[in-house]
């Protein structure tokens, strides 16, 4: 009976539901699967794993199934799910926590393009304190984003004076780097 859950649970000694509850302060068991979150989810048509599925799989400790699906990475963080949830669950926050789990461990398989985008984005912030959009575009494409997409539009963006060519570094770069380092360090702790 119980062996089924155990064989699929890669989250170590702490069950996934408990782990998510610890991270979010929200009880995944609160989800009663009404589907209102998924009904309003803008990406419901494109994903195989909708918000209520995510909540269910968390409650059932199915980290394996969550890892296989694209839903987490297609989430737009629009929070429609959370704001309409009748029972005070927070699917958006839950998905944040799951992304965090996957980002930290090796279970996560975000689609290449999306992962590359987020990585590039954070690199920009880590290195400059602010987003350097031109740098983001370059680094995203080198880091695994579709190479030729938007190539045609970039010049027009430049023409409108929208893209700066040189990054602006904040003065408190030390602090920004420290924040990144400290967060990474704290997250690394069990």
């Amino acid at each position: 009976m119980g062996s089924h859950e155990h064989s699929h649970d890669h989250s170590g000694p702490e069950p996934l539901a408990a782990r998510v509850q610890r991270m979010t302060g929200l009880n995944p068991a609160c989800c009663y699967q009404c589907g209102k979150c998924s009904a309003g989810c803008p990406m419901a048509a494109e994903t195989t794993l909708r918000p209520h599925d995510v909540m269910r799989l968390v409650a059932r400790n199915r980290l394996d199934k969550l890892a296989d699906a694209d839903g987490l990475w297609l989430c737009l963080t629009c929070e429609t799910c959370t704001s309409r949830c009748p029972n005070g669950c927070d699917p958006a926050r839950t998905m944040d926590a799951l992304r965090e789990i996957f980002a930290a461990g090796k279970d996560g398989k975000p689609p290449k393009a999306i992962s590359a985008f987020h990585k590039s984005f954070l690199n920009q912030v880590r290195n400059h304190g602010r987003l350097f959009e031109m740098g983001l575009i370059m680094s995203y494409k080198l880091g695994g984003g579709p190479m030729f997409a938007d190539v045609t539009t970039t010049p027009s963006v430049l023409a409108r004076g929208k893209l700066g060519l040189a990054p602006h570094n904040v003065k408190g770069m030390d602090e920004v780097r420290r924040i990144f380092a400290a967060c990474a360090e704290e997250e690394a702790q069990p």
Binding site: P42, M43, A45, E46, L74, C75, L76, T77, C78, E79, T80, T82, S83, D96, A97, R99, E100, A103, P111, A113, I114, A116, F117, H118, F121, L122, Q124, V125, G129, R130, L131, E133, I137, Y140, G145, A149, D150, T153, S156, V157, A159, R160, G161, K162, L163, G164, H168, V170, K171, G172, E175, V176, R178, I179, F180, A182, C183, A184, E186, E187
Partner: protein, 308 residues
């Protein structure tokens, strides 16, 4: 009135016209924006999707600086920045443990006293001033006010300055500027947000549905208060057409530009020329701008010519 100001990366980059128009209108509204010193990126969805602590600490750094500057409240015009800053404030106030961790990471004595305001919240408080200064009311301009996801929800984070399901502040502001808000259905739908670059197909699907609904409701333009929404609805119209999801040209304006136009501010100052979809049709409808100055790619000179 003095208020702290967190521009955010986009307002210094892709959406600089948002900042240009904002600065142009606040001058007329007796409001002074005090920029947060040496502000850094709020982390956007990339940060909180990879580390919860990082997603809170990055915005908290900016709130801490504002607090040190003695600013009781900070305006974050970008809806995404607003959501991150306001969420950070909310989460820190709800969770003393998190507050401690954030202070450890920041190495600052942050007391979380700064209130975060959205552009709607701030302009809503200035409606009388907007009305009074609307020398060029946008009489016939039918606008579809688009809120998107993060401006009015979740209500715990926003503090409920507007109804999360039936908001009205943007319509009220547009009305004060003389424009006519249309009644439409998709003003709270998501445009596709941060997937613009990484998954353009989804953005095209979602944004096209929004534009179609606005058009069906008879709107001349869509009004937004978010750089990301603007980029998806304006810049991606080309991709939408390319993929056969959308016909026509729907001008997409920042709310601050709408207010600015009503004040008779030069379209160039408002950065109307920086849009991808021409705003000429809008400028034509709101004839009365006496400036006649060129607007870059738009043929505003021609617009001005038509006035006479």
């Amino acid at each position: 009135m003095k208020i702290g100001y967190f521009p955010g990366c986009s307002l210094h980059g892709l959406s600089r016209e948002y900042e240009e128009s904002l600065k142009a209108i606040v001058a007329g509204l007796d409001t002074e924006l005090v920029e947060v010193d040496d502000w850094s990126c709020c982390g956007a969805s990339s940060a909180h999707g990879s580390s919860h602590l990082l997603g809170v600490a990055l915005p908290a750094r900016n709130l801490a600086i504002a607090e040190e500057q003695g600013l009781p409240e900070v305006l974050a015009p970008c809806a995404a920045c607003y959501a991150r800053l306001a969420s950070a404030r909310h989460e820190i106030s709800e969770d003393p443990q998190l507050a401690g961790r954030v202070n450890n990471v920041l190495v600052r004595d942050f007391k979380n006293t700064v209130r975060v305001r959205s552009i709607l919240e701030v302009l809503k408080g200035q409606i009388a001033g907007i009305k009074a200064r609307a020398t060029n009311p946008l009489k016939d301009l039918k606008v579809a006010c688009y809120y998107g996801c993060l401006l009015v929800r979740p209500v715990q984070v926003t503090g409920g300055y507007d109804d999360p399901e039936d908001p009205s502040s943007m319509e009220d502001i547009c009305k004060a500027a003389g424009a006519v808000p249309v009644k439409w259905n998709r003003r709270l739908d998501c445009c596709g947000g941060g997937l613009s670059m990484s998954r353009t197909g989804s953005v095209v699907r979602l944004s096209a549905a929004i534009l179609k609904d606005a058009k069906a409701a008879g709107a001349d333009a869509v009004v937004v208060a978010c750089p990301m929404c603007h980029s998806n609805l304006d810049f991606r119209q080309k991709a939408m057409k390319h993929r056969g999801a959308w016909e026509g040209d729907m001008p997409v304006l920042f709310l601050t530009q709408v207010v600015g136009m009503s004040m008779g501010i030069d379209p160039k100052t408002l950065g109307m020329g920086r849009h991808f979809v021409s705003t000429d049709s809008v400028l034509a409808r709101t004839a009365g701008t006496g400036s006649g100055s060129g607007t870059g790619t738009n043929s505003a000179a021609a617009v001005a010519g038509e006035v006479g």
